[in-house]
């Protein structure tokens, strides 16, 4: 039914999942302070609703979302707001972002939660609104607000809710453990999403290298009809929505379109769990499961941690670091990014924390391209990465775009197989960034232009009004003089 031929390209990186997947999810002890960046989602920064020094309860709303595309932030624990100021961002640049620092009081006192009695009896849009209020974003790393997808889905005909449990990134096993240990909750969450979208069926796709998760999900979905648990081949990037949709439904999402265009809505297994927690228990997204792994970690395992916990605390829970890691990564090794230090906090989109040893990191001396076309064979999007990189090298961004940059999902398959070790993904990141830069500059240019035109018009109007007033006064004066004379 699902033939491999539908999936073009892709790679088989070494999985490295055994050690972390073998142990159960551990609970992360409460840290003394939590660092909450105001932007842990795709849209604009959330707006703080609390003051420094204020005492807050666990689950209390700390920052509201200014737009639909943004997500609110809640207090992961009870305590006192220490400061609202720039904090270290979990980002390779080492820059700071605005954030809230919360000092935990250790009491973990929950705020009164608004728990729906029976979510299946509620209006779908109301449920979607609840998901939005709970601050749930895509936990697979995309950090797109989940409610936006749900609300969009209510406007389109959705045939299939696709739960993405493929977890194709090496090292990561957080979704695997979640599906094994909390299968009922994930299935319940999937059914709630189906209810919101009025979808016909649910497909839970799991890579065939996770037999335990497959079995657990099959057992949990047994009582309900219209849930299909399918094993998809372990192939990177199976977890990319577009690739998974093609694998499961045989259809391609049109370029520039959304998965709703082919009647599918994809949610990551972790997101589905968070949605279930929000709708069944009223709990906002304040914690998540993170895989802590890599050659430098003593006991790699999955940890359920509060959002905002410093990364160092998670490594400590896993027995600390054996050596100074060669690379410290947030996310998986394929699409993750470097962390500047272990002082940065865990954010909503953190799937994994990797402390990679020297032997796990590829050498980075690049050689000229020999056009071997391995990148073309590996590209799951059917692009020509070597041509895109050659054009980016000479800053021909339009050319690169035309050769496929516009469709690139930055999955890194091309750079993984490149025998010349060319940093292809960095070329594409650079090109995308420069295109953004140009667009925002052009936008500012237009805005400034509108402003100065408006100002010129206003000044002219004022001038005209002044002149008119003067003229009126002048007219009035002779008239007044005349009226004085006439009687």
């Amino acid at each position: 039914m699902f033939n491999l031929a539908q999936f073009r390209g892709g790679i088989h990186p070494a999985a490295h999942k055994d050690r972390s997947a073998a142990l159960g999810i551990a609970a992360q002890p409460l840290p003394s302070r939590l660092y909450l960046p105001l932007r842990q989602h795709a849209g604009a920064e959330a707006l703080p609703l609390v003051k420094e020094g204020e005492r807050v309860l666990k689950g209390q709303l700390l920052a509201g979302s200014p737009t639909e595309l943004s997500a609110p932030i809640h207090a992961p624990s009870s305590g006192r707001i220490v400061s609202i100021a720039p904090i270290d961002a979990p980002h390779p640049s080492g820059l700071k972002v605005n954030g809230i620092v919360l000092e935990c009081d250790g009491e973990e006192r929950w705020i009164d939660l608004d728990v729906p009695a029976d979510p299946f009896a509620e209006d779908p849009l109301r449920l979607a609104q609840r998901v939005a209020e709970a601050g749930v974003v895509g936990l697979g790393g995309a950090i797109f607000p989940a409610a936006v997808k749900l609300k969009q889905g209510t406007r389109h005909e959705i045939k299939t809710v696709l739960v993405n449990g493929s977890e194709c990134e090496p090292y990561l096993s957080c979704d695997d453990r979640l599906m094994r240990e909390r299968a009922e909750a994930v299935v319940d969450g999937a059914r709630l999403i189906q209810h919101i979208l009025r979808a016909y069926s649910i497909v839970i796709a799991i890579e065939d290298n996770k037999p335990a998760a497959l079995a657990a999900m099959r057992a949990a979905s047994e009582p309900y009809g219209a849930i299909e648990v399918v094993a998809v081949p372990a192939l990177y990037p199976m977890g990319s929505a577009k690739q998974l949709i093609r694998q499961v439904t045989g259809r391609e999402v049109p370029a520039g379109g959304r998965s709703t265009d082919v009647g599918v809505l994809v949610h990551n297994a972790g997101t589905v769990y968070a949605i279930q927690q929000a709708l069944r228990h009223g709990r906002p997204l304040i914690s998540r499961v993170v895989t802590v792994a890599g050659g430098c970690v003593s006991n790699p395992r999955n940890v359920e941690t509060l959002i905002g916990t410093p990364v160092q605390a998670l490594f400590d829970t896993c027995g600390g670091l054996l050596r100074e890691p060669q690379q410290l990564l947030l996310g998986g090794p394929m699409m993750g990014m470097l962390l500047p230090s272990t002082a940065v906090p865990v954010i909503k989109g953190a799937t994994g924390l990797l402390a990679l040893d020297r032997h796990e990191v590829p050498r980075n001396d690049s050689a000229p391209c020999i056009r071997c076309a391995r990148c073309v064979d590996a590209c799951p999007m059917g692009l020509a990465p070597l041509e895109m990189a050659a054009r980016t090298r000479v800053d021909d961004f339009d050319g690169a775009s035309e050769y496929g940059l516009r469709d690139c999902i930055l999955c890194g398959c091309c750079a993984y197989v490149c025998p010349s070790h060319i940093p292809l993904v960095q070329y594409f990141q650079y090109a995308v960034g420069q295109q953004d830069e140009r667009r925002s500059a052009a936008r500012k240019n237009d805005y400034v232009k509108r402003l100065s035109e408006a100002r010129a018009a206003r000044l002219a109007e004022e001038e005209a009004a002044k002149a008119a007033a003067k003229a009126a006064k002048k007219r009035k004066t002779p008239a007044a003089a005349a009226s004085e004379v006439s009687p």
Binding site: A89, L95, V97, Y427, Q429, A441, N445, K449, L451
Partner: protein, 174 residues
Amino acid sequence: MLSAILVLLLMGLLLGGGLGLAARYLAVSEENPLIKEIETLMPGSQCGQCGYPGCTAAASALVEGSAAVTCCPPGGAALAERLAELLGVPLDAGALAAPMLARIDAAECTGCTRCFRACPTDAIVGANGQIHCVLSNACTGCSKCLEACPEDCIALAPQEPTLDQWRWAKPRAA
């Protein structure tokens, strides 16, 4: 032989004369349309950072070739690229000045309102007696407010780096 010379001479005279007449009567009397086109691309804030009295003057200087395509800091790299493309000149990206923003020192500001009256893009907000503030998304770094400020409390500074403005660097070529 002679007839050939005569015919050619006559043809030369006729065609030359025709061309001369055409140049005289069919001439485009308006200014170079390229200037107009460039002007629509420019920010239009007449800020004068290019060293010309306004965007129109800068546009004609660009067409004449006396101004560099990188002369407009508010336009940034995007504008420079468009100009280079339009004028067919090579772009020296290194010559592009980093965009600057005005910043008001809140401790010194007396709220005199002179700066925001001078601002060509209404990028300064405030009221009489209140501390003024620069809107970074509208400021072009033209420094007109600096000249207007009686307290000397406005300075130009490069934009504070934020995650939104951070871009991946170009990899070093192999």
